[in-house]
């Protein structure tokens, strides 16, 4: 094996080691969340060397990627699904081991090693391209740790390609010196290397599936509504008409809660949404109308709640409009109360609610909604989802959503 091939193996080895490093962090972050808690996420080109915090803005891209449906598969079968990064972990591990072996054994120029390394690199690059395009077209966010993996794939591919090209000359020289494996030996060697690649890639997944706990018992332990009755008609139907009935689902939301906007969208976009019919219970976390709040978490939410009540069948439209304008409706500083600004915006966008907005009847209707929450002993937090009376656990609203919903909807 020539010195040039050695050097190219070192490049491939660096790429594989980097890939193992980044995919290891991605996997570790994902697996840490299997405890159904929230944790900081490593989101850096130097993960492990920088401190991670829950509120770090720079980690947003990695959180978006991890919580997106593209980070794992079989989410309806396993809580959180099976992370794709597990395959990456095995693939880069294989690349690293093969490069090490190629260098140590001086047999790196053999066809089997070349093919194994090249195939691992091609798969890594193809997967990187696929995930990169998802980041651009679907997530509109970039996860730095993922970018690290893409770079590592590129380096591995570069090294593997150079090794492949350089090894052709090495093999010719070795053959001239009498070191030429037979065709059968070559085929067996290729099959062995490919089997090693398959084993290295699949073993982490197999062990993961074998070790992952049973979440079925946790999904149903977050309580139920005390009564499914809505005697004061406080629940507002949204979405498809009642004639296309599905499993009755109640979303408890605050029009100004960012988590509600994100959760509501995720639920509506999910494949299981077609099996559900939605009603909204408004729970404004604003002390202006909600006596349960000592301080307003979302000042101005009461105005929007009343506007929804006034809008009747257009309540869903106002809710979507509120979600879309949340940034403008936030307090500008600690002293700012945006209620007046929100009222003005509501009246401009929906002038038909003007006479109703401040009427005693609207105030009473909103109060009845809040008292529905009292009668049901709901937690004072948003968002919440009740499917056929059973509460979706807060811990299952991200990674475990598909798994939990499959069970709550009774489709599993």
């Amino acid at each position: 094996m020539s010195k040039k091939t050695y050097l190219f193996f070192v490049i491939a080895l660096v790429g594989a080691a980097l890939g193992l490093f980044y995919s290891g962090f991605s996997t570790s972050d994902f697996v840490a969340h299997l405890d159904r808690q929230l944790h900081p996420v490593s989101c850096s080109l130097l993960p492990g060397l920088t401190e991670t915090t829950m509120l770090e803005q720079g980690a947003e891209g990695c959180k978006v990627a991890m919580f997106s449906p593209y980070s794992s598969f079989w989410r309806d079968r396993y809580w959180g699904g099976v992370p794709w990064s597990l395959f990456a972990l095995g693939l880069f591990g294989f690349g690293l081991a093969l490069s090490l072996w190629g260098i140590a054994s001086r047999k790196g120029h053999h066809l089997a090693v070349n093919i194994g390394l090249l195939l691992a690199a091609i798969v890594a690059v193809a997967a990187s391209l696929a995930f990169f395009s998802i980041s651009v077209s679907k997530l509109h966010e970039f996860c730095k740790t993922c970018v690290g993996t893409y770079i590592a794939s590129g380096i591995l591919a570069l090294g593997a390609a150079l090794v492949f090209v350089s090894s052709i000359g090495d093999r010719r020289r070795a053959a001239a010196a009498g070191d030429k494996p037979t065709g059968v030996a070559n085929v067996i060697a290729i099959l062995v290397v490919l089997a090693e690649m398959g084993l290295a890639t699949l073993l982490p997944v197999a062990l993961y599936l074998n070790t992952v706990p049973d979440y079925g018992k946790y999904v149903a332990e977050c309580g139920t509504l005390k009564s499914k009755e809505d005697k004061n008609n406080v629940l507002i139907p949204i979405g498809k008409p009642a004639t296309q009935a599905g499993t009755e689902s109640i979303l408890v939301v605050d029009p100004l809660c960012p988590a509600c906007a994100a959760f509501h969208k995720r639920i509506q976009d999910a494949p299981f949404a077609s099996k559900m019919s939605f009603k909204v219970a408004i729970l404004p976390l604003d002390s202006d109308c909600n006596w349960m709040m000592t301080d307003s978490m979302h000042p101005g939410a009461c105005v929007l709640a009343k506007a929804m009540i006034c809008a009747k069948d257009k309540a869903g439209e106002i809710l979507d409009w509120s979600y879309a304008n949340q940034k403008d409706f936030r307090p500008k500083d600690k002293a700012d109360n945006p209620s007046a600004r929100i009222r003005e915006a509501v009246l401009k966008a929906y002038p038909q609610v003007k006479d109703c907005l401040d009427s005693p009847d609207t105030k009473i209707a909103l109060n009845k909604t809040l008292n529905w929450a009292v009668d049901q002993s709901l937690p004072v937090l948003t968002p919440q989802l009740y499917v056929n009376g059973a509460r979706l656990c807060d811990e299952d609203t991200d990674l475990g959503l598909d798994f939990a919903m499959t069970r709550l909807l009774g489709t599993k």
Binding site: G90, L100, A200, I364
Partner: protein
């Protein structure tokens, strides 16, 4: 060549063992935290606040005791006949006039006083507006109290009748205006006539359904005006009570 493949096997076994133990230990650690509720960051998740009726600072034990007695004996708790008459109320509340009023003084920001003309029980527009606003502002309260009174201008019997009619005017208006099917479970009526817990000058500072010139006059002169006291007591005090009873 053999040595090369032995080396290959060693490298691959090391890799597989490392990948296997790494993956397994990560998942098992998460599974342990899931089972025990331990947190990686060592923080316990605070229990969420549960939606409940209001319970504000003025809900002292004394106030709650009196209210419970009144609610039980005047028909709101346990059903039965609605309303309490003045001669009953003294026995029911089991406290003096002054103490009865003192308990309710903490409601000054929440309550309103609907004023009536002499020998009348009709609600004027200001009274109706105040009543609608007050009724709509239930928040987390369970009971709405209407405590009607009369001035001392007439006979005791007549004053009882006026205060009874004033309490009913409030009840009937709420029934007609809001058509609330649960009104009976929310509204407590008391009519005190002239005999029990007459309002004093301090109530001039409460929300009044119309202005009482004598109140302003009395504040300027810092004296007590008989006419003002009579005006204040031709009334019905209305308030939601933000206490869990």
């Amino acid at each position: 060549m053999k040595i090369a493949w032995i080396l290959n096997a060693v490298v691959m076994i090391v890799l597989l063992v490392a990948l296997g133990t790494g993956t397994r230990s990560m998942v098992l650690a998460a599974a342990h935290r899931l089972e025990t509720g331990e947190s990686l960051e060592g923080q316990k998740k605070p229990a969420p606040l549960i939606a409940s009726k209001a319970e504000v600072a003025y809900c002292t034990d004394e106030l709650k005791t009196v209210l419970r007695r009144v609610l039980t004996n005047c028909g709101l708790i346990g059903g039965g006949r609605r309303g309490c008459q003045p001669n009953e109320l003294r026995n029911v509340a089991q406290i003096s006039d002054a103490d009865f009023n003192a308990l309710f003084k903490s409601l000054d920001k929440r309550a309103g006083i609907i004023l009536f003309d002499p020998e009348k029980d009709e609600l004027d527009p200001g009274a109706k507006a105040m009543l609608e606003k007050a009724w709509a502002d239930q928040r987390g309260a369970t009971y709405f109290f209407v405590v009607a009174r009369a001035s001392t201008d007439d006979t005791t019997e007549k004053n009882r009748m006026y205060s009874h009619k004033r309490a009913n005017s409030v009840l009937f208006y709420l029934q007609e205006r809001f058509k609330d099917t649960e009104l009976d479970q929310k509204l407590g009526l008391l009519w005190l006539g002239e005999e029990y817990a007459q309002l004093d000058q301090q109530f001039c500072n409460w929300n009044l359904s119309r202005s009482v010139p004598e109140c302003a006059q009395a504040q300027r002169t810092k004296g007590e005006d008989t006419q003002m006291i009579k005006e204040l007591n031709r009334s019905a005090v209305i308030s939601w009570i933000d206490c869990r009873l």
